[in-house]
């Protein structure tokens, strides 16, 4: 197990290095500069060169790359050009909290409701409950979350005045965006749990448990649900990464100062250091979560032994 994790961490670093390198060179091919070109056009070439030089952009791309990697190894993500002088690390730290809070709430809400719906649908297979749960699930997958967001904002925020329409002012501000984001999670989780539960309920050990005289609730909670969780954990990995790193659309609709919009804006404005910083952050987060998911498997299902088989 330890050897397995060590090996995975080596791969992880390698993956990050490749992503960083690829992104760096792709990014340098973006058209334009990180500056206000219309204003820059009014300067002489010498003046422009001096501005480029002050950000180290006058050097050949390969030199810039080596410098950049050197800085990253020392934990320095550089400073933003668009947000002049702001440390990229600080920007990411500032912006991750709103996105992560909203994302985390959406995941908790979505997982709990999705689980309940899924279990209910499987347990009362082909009943009204089943159909209702699956209708919710189909709607959740097919309605884009920005439509829901707009509806929630209009009715709950504006018409009924229950929660704030927008902004990041108090805890209340995070509720509507979380609910809007959670629908997709509900839908996915409910479907997965239902399918898996239906299969698990057919298994011999369930029959055995019934024969032993275990009660319905005990069978469900002790055997059926636990065994249905494996695919949920698999799917939860990418969902966690997706939601915790922010959604551009939801953040814009609710005026949340999150990281999703930062990433898109940084690309639009050629803010090199920010593009790199956010990319590295995203990919690091992703590979770490994937590793955790694999470790979680072995905890949920002791039959899965990490690293014991052929690699």
């Amino acid at each position: 197990m330890k050897r397995y994790i060590a090996k995975r961490i080596v791969y992880l670093v390698l993956t990050l290095f490749i992503i960083t390198t690829a992104t760096f060179f792709l990014m340098k091919n973006l058209p334009g500069t990180p500056f206000d070109e219309e204003k820059l056009a009014l300067l002489t070439q010498d003046q422009r060169d001096q501005i480029y030089a002050s950000y180290g952009l006058d050097k050949p791309v390969i030199v810039q790359y080596v410098n950049y990697i050197g800085n990253i190894v020392q934990g320095d993500l550089g400073t933003s050009i668009y947000y002049t002088g702001q440390d990229v690390k600080d920007i990411i730290v500032d912006r991750i909290y709103p996105s992560a809070l909203v994302g985390l709430q959406a995941i908790l809400l979505g997982t709990v409701i999705g689980l309940i719906l899924g279990v209910l649908a499987a347990y009362r297979h082909n009943s009204g409950w089943d159909y209702a749960a699956m209708i919710v699930s189909v709607l959740g997958v097919s309605i884009p979350n920005f439509v829901l967001a707009a509806l929630l904002q209009y009715y709950i925020g504006l018409k009924w005045g229950i929660l704030p329409v927008a902004f990041w002012e108090s805890y209340d501000s995070s509720v509507l965006p979380s609910v809007a984001l959670s629908f997709g999670v509900i839908a996915i989780i409910a479907r997965f749990v239902r399918t898996e539960m239906l299969e698990v309920l057919q298994q011999d050990y369930i029959v055995t448990a019934k024969a032993k005289g275990l009660g319905q609730m005990a069978i469900l909670s002790r055997h059926a649900v636990r065994n249905s969780l494996i695919p949920v954990i698999t799917i939860l990995g990418p969902i966690v990464v997706n939601l915790l790193t922010g959604s551009l659309v939801i953040e814009n609709i609710f005026g949340i100062p999150g990281i999703g919009s930062l990433f898109v804006d940084s690309i639009k404005t050629n803010d090199y250091a920010t593009i790199m910083g956010v990319t590295i952050f995203y990919s690091a987060f992703y590979v770490v979560v994937m590793l955790l998911v694999d470790i979680l498997y072995s905890l949920v299902d002791p039959r899965i032994r990490l690293g014991s088989g052929r690699e």
């Binding site: 219309e38 204003k39 300067l43 002050s54 002088g85 702001q86 709430q105 504006l158 002012e169 509720v175």
Partner: protein, 552 residues
Amino acid sequence: MKKKGSLSLLALMLVFSVVLAACGNNNENASGSSSPSASAGASGSAAPSGKPINLYVENEIKNLSQWAASDDISFTVLNNVSEGLYRLDADNNPQPALAQDVAISDDKLTYTFTLRDGIQWSNGTPITAADFKYAWLGEMNPTTATNGYSFILTDYIVGGAEYAAGTGTADQVAIEAKDDKTLVVTLKQPTPFFLRLTSLVPYFPLNEAFVTSQGDQYGLAADKLIYAGPYVLESFDIAAGAVLKKNPTYWDNSNVKTDTINLKVIKEQSTALNAYKAGQIDRVTLASSDVDANKSNPEFGTGIKFRTTYLQFNTKAEGLSNVNIRKALSLAFDSNILAATILNNGSSGASGLIPDLMSGDGTKTFRELNGKVIEANIEKAKELWAQGVQELGSAPKLTLLIADTSEVKDVATFLQSEFKNNLGIDVAIDTKTSKARNELMDNNNYQMAVTAWGADYDDAMTYMDLWTNHTPYRGNYESSEYDALIANAKKETDDAKRADMLLQAEKQLVDTDAVVAPIYFGGYSFLQKSNVTGLIYHPYGNPVEFKSAVAQ
């Protein structure tokens, strides 16, 4: 059953909210500036005057370092937490601000400013003439200023251009801090709008001791700035917004009636409108699609911006090197229809390059003096097109380059259909990100492009000067007559004669040589709560004054 479902949902949310509110609080302290600040608490301080005013900006507050800021949003904040020698009033005329008055020499070249008595920075340091000199020299120097705004000083001040280019020294720049209260500036040429220029952000003072003590941290947070304006920043976050508080050390603070101004960042126009309707903000700019529904609202209003959107022809590009082709395209669309039906936001069809209301000779506006230099004329357009095609030998294939913003896309589609209907030609539209569009233009890789220019100051020169640099971005336009007109206008001391030269220059650029085809003058529609008064919006330069704003 539906109700039951939503109830249990609410219950669940409640449970989560208790759990998460707890971690929320911890994080709030840790993450500092991005923490949500309780807006209700703001009014808690003993407030003898107006209620807090809640406003928004449409994009992030990029940076508040004066030498780096170049966008309207940074200027919105900086203009209200700092101040120049002059400040524009409600009629966009310059009024003494940090300066008490000015003496202008007879040749209109030397300005001697006298600063007010007792003016000080928010940290108690006196504001002196040296602070202006330091800020202005820093803006000219490309190693300290990165906003590309140095031209707005170096174009006027003797020695500035040489210093900026590295061929002159700081000593040779004609800015002299004679004593703490006296600032003497010598200009290269008479500049009737120089006092207006001193109201712009690049002309604001900076305290050398403070700026150097902060090093590269200067301007990155509310406590890494000191303030000279009607307000100070209590907090500021790039993406969440800023909280402005009345500045107790401001010289005119008895006329500042509002204690708190909350400035939020909202990027979605529909979100802003919802927030306005819910009472979370006091003013909202309307999207075109929302204008008709709100026109009868007593809170509705319109304003104009000195921003002209125009078609830039590349005079060296295939087909468009022919002046008749360019003229035909200029006359073949009716921009009044565009403004009234498609834009529908307060914009108006362009009758020239210089927007309505921009100053002319001091008594009349530029537009009043020059009349219409462009007006749709389909018959003439057809004639000119036929003539151009004959001269070229065949009809040119045309592509219109645009940036991918929704407004410009609408404009391009309109132009495309007008060219089709009126000239019978198919024009392709090439949509790029604005960065990519700029690069194509800079590389001389375009035929014609939709672009816009917002005035930096209230004078036609802010537009006319652009086409003297002969770059591909400006259509490779090279005319010795035009250059001479601009150069002479810059030297002219007589306002009427000077205006006359600029009038001629506009006619030549738009009509005779058809280098650009003006499309529309920028405008906007808004809703503003009826209890809010005294917000002054300018059509150019600093976007807005909070100084006199009051919410009853």
